[in-house]
Each structure stands twice: as structure tokens, then as C-alpha cells.
């Protein structure tokens, strides 16, 4: 089956994002199709490169990056939800007069039309 996963909460504070990651891994392990993951609402904070937990803690941002890279899954971040929450690309940072953006590697800022199209094509939506 073709799945779409939507992550609506930040990397730390609630369990939503880690459950979404474990679920997404399980989808791949069991042979399902997962083209892209959408980070929306507070979920855009999973793309914050500046998340820097202690060494003995999980770094979900890294885990998502590795997962996306390993299985060639697009990590889509809603651009307007992200800018409101302080997750911006280098180009946006330049325009805002900042030295550097903080969008983590492997994540892509996209519009909501990408999400709508993915929903249209999928068999199942799972929201975390």
C-alpha cells in the first residue's frame, strides 16, 4: 500500500515524532510504499538543525535525516508553518538579514500543494 505520513509535533516534548519515525521504518520493513513524509504544524520543528541534545539522548533530527537518505524518502516541510516557527533555509535567512538558515540536511521546504497531491495518490494517511 501507498502511505502518507504526517508529523504534527516537534522532535522533543511529545512522543508523536519518534512514533512516526518508528512507524515509517516499520512500513518500509514490511514492504509498503512511503514516498514522502510531511512535517506540518509543530512538526516542522523536526527540521531544526540547531537541535543539539546531549550525547546519551536520541537526536530525532539526525534519525529523520538518515532515514530519508537511506530509503530515498522525501522529508517535506511546510514552508509557511516553518517560517512562523523559525525554521528557515539559507536563502530565506539572507533575505531576513541573518547569517545562516537552520533547515537540517535532507529536509525540503515545500508548499501544501505537495501534501494535497500526495494525499490524492495514496491509499492511507497516518497522522502523528
Amino acid at each position: 500500500m501507498n502511505y502518507v505520513v504526517i508529523v504534527t509535533r516537534a522532535a522533543y516534548g511529545t512522543e508523536n515524532s519518534s512514533t512516526a519515525l518508528l512507524f515509517s521504518r516499520a512500513l518500509i520493513d514490511s514492504g509498503h510504499k512511503l514516498n514522502s513524509i510531511f512535517f506540518y504544524f509543530g512538526g516542522v520543528l523536526n527540521a531544526n538543525q540547531m537541535i543539539f541534545p546531549a550525547d546519551d539522548e536520541c537526536n530525532l533530527v539526525k534519525y529523520w535525516e538518515d532515514f530519508g537518505f537511506q530509503f530515498k524518502i522525501k522529508l517535506n516541510v511546510c514552508i509557511s508553518a516553518a517560517s512562523r516557527r523559525g525554521v528557515i533555509s539559507d536563502e530565506q535567512a539572507l533575505r531576513a538579514g541573518l547569517q545562516k538558515g537552520n533547515l537540517a540536511n535532507g529536509f525540503k521546504l515545500t508548499g501544501l500543494n505537495e501534501l494535497s497531491e500526495a494525499i490524492q495518490k495514496c491509499d492511507r494517511i497516518v497522522q502523528f
Binding site: I6, Y40, F41, L115, S116, E117, I119, Q120, C122, I125
Partner: protein
Amino acid sequence: MKSIAFIFSHAPHGTSFGREGLDIILSASLTIQDISIFFIGDGVFQLVKNQQPEIILSRNYASAFCILPLYGINKFYFYSDSLIERGFLEKDIFLLDIQILNTYVFQEKLSQCEGIINF
């Protein structure tokens, strides 16, 4: 998926779910033909008229719900018990022409949708 249900279950302004949820619906209306919107629990507050969120530094997005019919979205379902629990006894306090459904019909309408997204 051809038919999607969007469910609002949070009051406006306390969280961003209402505003950002509405953004998804506006975008989805361009690609998904059959969209139904359900309001349950505190979600029934979303469509209340005469909101003044500027006073609490929030954005007034409620009027944007009114353009949904122009995008071909006309199914607005309210859960009757949620309205009664909150003392909403008149339909004309809401911005749109809503349909009030009892438990059975609400569940029935929801189960007819292929996908569900919650706000």
C-alpha cells in the same frame, strides 16, 4: 484518495490547528474533489461569528472559512452533542450554513470518507 474528512476538535486561537488546518483545506480543494469538514468538541467554536482575536494578538482567520463554498466545499457537519454541551442552541451564531448531525449520522458521514485528517 478521492474523499477526505477534515475534523476540527480544538477551539480557535488557543492552538494554531484551526488556522493551519484551514490552509490545508484550501490547498486540498484544488486536488481533492470530495471534502467534508467535521466540527466536534471545542472545534465547534471555530465558526462562531464576531470573533475579535486581534485583542489577544491572534489572527482573524474565521472569515476565510466563508470562502470555502467558492472552492466547492459545502459539507460542514457539526456534532449535535458538542453544541448542546456548550450551550449553542441557535444555528445563526455560526458563519456558514452548517448541518447538525446526531451521533449515528455523524459517524455514518465520517465512515463514508476514505481518509481522515485531524486538527
